[in-house]
Amino acid sequence: MPSDCRSRYRRNFLLQALLLPLTLLACAAGVSNQPEPAAAAAASPIATMSSVDLGNGQRLFRVHCARCHGMQGNGGEGPSLRRAQLKHASDDESLFTVINEGIRGTGMPGTWAPNDDELWQIAGYVRSLGALPKQAMPGDPGAGALVYARSGCATCHISNGQGRGVGPELTEVGLRRNAEYLRRSLTNPDADAPMSSNQITGHINAFLTVRVVAADGEYEGLRIAEDDFSVQMRDISGAIRSFDKSKLLRYEKAFGHSLMPGYETTLSTTDADDLVSYLMNLKGTQ
């Protein structure tokens, strides 16, 4: 199968050549915004996909994928695909393979009918779901690094191996979040409810604030895991705690309440612009 795929993959370069004028138009119109194409992606048909291809990819996605991943790709029984980094598809060729063959030991089946061109169109559409439009930085990322250090962000976030892991790791946050989202996270952390997916629970609130009243005291933290009988949280000091739900006096999921403080009044406009720029620049370790 893999060698067969590659041979068919090569045939797509002919198709690419034919579609090139369309592709240029599409890029100019901002339709295709593959973030930071890696070396492998440079040779991928997705890099030069037209809006017609992506439209067809969306149509095929709704037939083949939406049953589990949702009509908008937001996730359901299967994970959300609105993310730049997909766990089982680090590059476009592996995305093609996952769509074609499925993922062993999971509910993800291979896709049944499409030919290779159609599989690439689905892959292109899936990539477009997670793509972030290229944006100009509002400030100076170098200065933003100083703001990051000065504001104590590392007290709760790990970036490039440094800091304490309470909230989301920020090492690759520039791949996942745009300037608008990052600014909102700084000024109004309650505004967004990030979601995560896994095979067991499907699509759930990530970093959900939970509060418990146990016999020995009250605790607040970010939910790590929860099941029928127990809940595990990470508190603001980074300590991990596990509770037997049947022994709790009270258990509350605080939807819409982030443990992160808002920096709307503590950061100047320039500092906020610089910090957003610094975060936009965080794209993983090389």
Binding site: H64, A66, R67, G105, T106, A113, T201, G202, E226, D228
Partner: protein, 552 residues
């Protein structure tokens, strides 16, 4: 009060004449080392009362999934522990590996299926592998609308039957796994597939098809257990001129769906076979198939010798939400409104619990057992009273339950001693979309899709109902909508599982959790029970591992 089907269940019910004879025969032949006799038809008839074995998918023809054993009970369950575990065989098949099997136990041997369509025989004492059969299935096999799963095998005499993903039926020697015969049931290239455990009735192996999401016209088949020759085929969607054909327009019947992908039940006194059917095709765009679309989303009563349809009851006419009626039809006897009745109880994917008279198909009762927003109720004829604006639409329509339903294929359980019906319940809504659908053989024929509500807005539960009026007695809430069934026991327990990996025992009287074990992986199977040397056993598969539990 209900009239219990069988009371006074002892640990080994050797007062049962048929079973006594079987046990004596086993004792006589076991020492002599003669041929293995897995399960005669007489033994299948006595399966419900036989606590030592578990000879068919639902533990007997009434499909109660009830263990008559009492050794494990509320007073002893705290001591339940793993006796042995078995890790499923690795497979090179991409996308395979979700395990949904219910093992069978006949004497000293356990028979189970593994994804995608393999069969394994284990020693019940130790869990050691006796043999493994893996049919050669192409990686190109179509399984449109479901993962590469198999839900179990069937037994008759010294033969094991497995229905495969590529739509073949195999008969294997129970002692060695050698193929006795195989037959091609239908064309996988147009979307026909098999995932269910077959049902053996007399000398016939009865199977149903998957494939409505590919727009097949589904059927139920019966094969001669000795020869593999097909004896009858009954289509679930009538051809023009046949009864029910008035509920289809034009050629829509040819791609009408009505899959039959879950094991049925059998009443030996009435000599009637009960089988359920799935959604019409395409799933979410009903414009292409105006009418009630008989006999989709229905319960069928068939003559097992000929496959002739005696009567039908349609739960969801002209379904547009993929609410298959492919749930286990449980045969129960008792009083409803002062009248003794033989009934089929079914907790439907559409969120209503139904009772239908199993002699004539007459509608008896329906009541919601889970949140639903699509019907004002069920009328006196059993037809849903539809609420407006609940159809899938281009912009999306929010409806409870989700397309996976208020329950799904995983089994309910019925305790005939207490008249309780237990069901694993999915509490989840979804936004339903409608889209165009064009039929092309061997491709998805769906006409839309859904966006299910996210995890924290969804939940699950194990629910106990009074089987004769549908009233809820208790619920045990689950973190997420489950994909695993339940088994009640005469010891007063209900065993169930969760996505988060727990296998647990609830007090059947109250729903109180009494015992739990974290299997470490999601559970998508049904529990079952048996006994070894007088010791009660309970089995469940979590992830790739089958666990067998006991007190000692």
């Amino acid at each position: 009060m209900n009239k219990p089907a069988h009371t006074d269940r002892l640990f080994f019910l050797i007062h049962h004449p048929t079973l006594l004879r079987i046990l004596l025969l086993s004792a006589l032949t076991a020492g002599a080392g003669t041929a293995l006799a897995a399960a005669s038809f007489e033994a299948l008839l006595a399966d419900e009362a036989n606590g030592a074995d578990w000879l068919s998918y639902s533990g007997g023809y009434r499909s109660e999934r009830f263990s008559p054993l009492t050794q494990i009970n509320p007073a002893t369950v705290a001591d339940l522990k793993v006796i042995w575990a078995y890790q499923m065989q690795p497979t090179d098949m991409p996308g395979a590996g979700l395990q949904e099997t219910t093992p069978l136990v006949a004497g000293e041997v356990m028979y189970l299926s593994e994804s995608p369509s393999s069969v394994t025989a284990l020693d019940v004492h130790s869990g050691r592998l006796l043999w493994h059969f893996a049919p050669d299935i192409s990686e190109e096999v179509l399984h449109i609308g479901f993962p590469k799963v198999n839900r179990g095998v069937a037994l008759l005499n010294d033969t094991v039957f497995i229905a495969t993903l590529d739509a073949r039926l195999f008969a294997l020697d129970a002692g060695t796994g050698a193929v006795r015969w195989q037959t091609s049931v239908a064309d996988n290239a147009v979307g026909f597939s098999l995932t269910l455990a077959p049902l053996v009735v007399k000398n016939l192996v009865i199977i149903g098809m998957s494939g409505a999401e590919a727009g097949v016209r589904a059927f139920i088949d019966a094969y001669d257990a000795e020869t593999g020759k097909r004896v009858w085929r009954t289509y679930t969607v009538p051809a023009p001129g046949e009864p029910g054909s008035e509920s289809w327009q034009g050629d829509s019947w040819q791609t009408g769906g009505g899959s039959t992908w879950l094991t049925g039940s059998y009443d030996p006194d009435l000599d009637l076979l009960y089988w359920t059917t799935g959604n019409p095709a395409p799933d979410w765009n009903g414009d292409l198939r105006p009418g009630d679309n008989l006999f989709t989303c229905s319960l069928l009563a068939l003559d097992p010798a000929t496959g002739r349809l005696r009567w039908h009851f349609q739960y969801t006419p002209h379904d547009t939400h993929d609410w298959d009626a492919n749930q286990i039809p449980v045969l129960i006897d008792g009083n409803v409104e002062g009248r003794a009745r033989k009934l089929v109880a079914l907790a439907n994917r559409n969120a209503f619990y139904y009772l239908v008279d199993r002699e004539n198909g007459e509608f008896v009762h329906a009541s919601p057992y889970s949140r639903q927003t699509w019907a004002a109720g069920i009328d006196d004829t059993g037809r849903p009273i539809l609420l407006p604006d609940k159809e899938p639409s281009e912009e999306g329509t929010l409806v409870w339950p989700s397309l996976q339903g208020a329950t799904n294929w995983f089994s309910p359980s019925y305790n005939p001693d207490t008249g309780q019906f237990f069901v694993a319940n999915r509490r989840m809504g979804a936004v339903y979309y409608k889209a165009d659908a064009e039929y092309e053989p061997g491709t998805p024929f769906l006409g839309g899709g859904e966006q299910a509500l996210s995890g924290d807005e969804a939940a699950g539960a194990i629910v106990a109902l009074n089987a004769f009026n549908g009233e809820q007695q208790w619920e045990f809430v689950l973190q997420s909508p489950p994909w695993s069934g339940v088994m009640a026991t005469a010891g007063g327990l209900v065993f169930g599982s969760s996505n988060e990996g727990y296998f647990f025992a609830l007090n059947a009287a109250s729903g109180e959790p009494l015992w739990r074990f974290n299997t470490g992986a999601h559970i998508r199977t049904n529990p079952m029970g048996f006994a070894v040397d007088g010791n009660q056993r309970v089995a469940i598969t979590g992830g790739q591992t089958l666990f067998v539990f006991g007190l000692q």
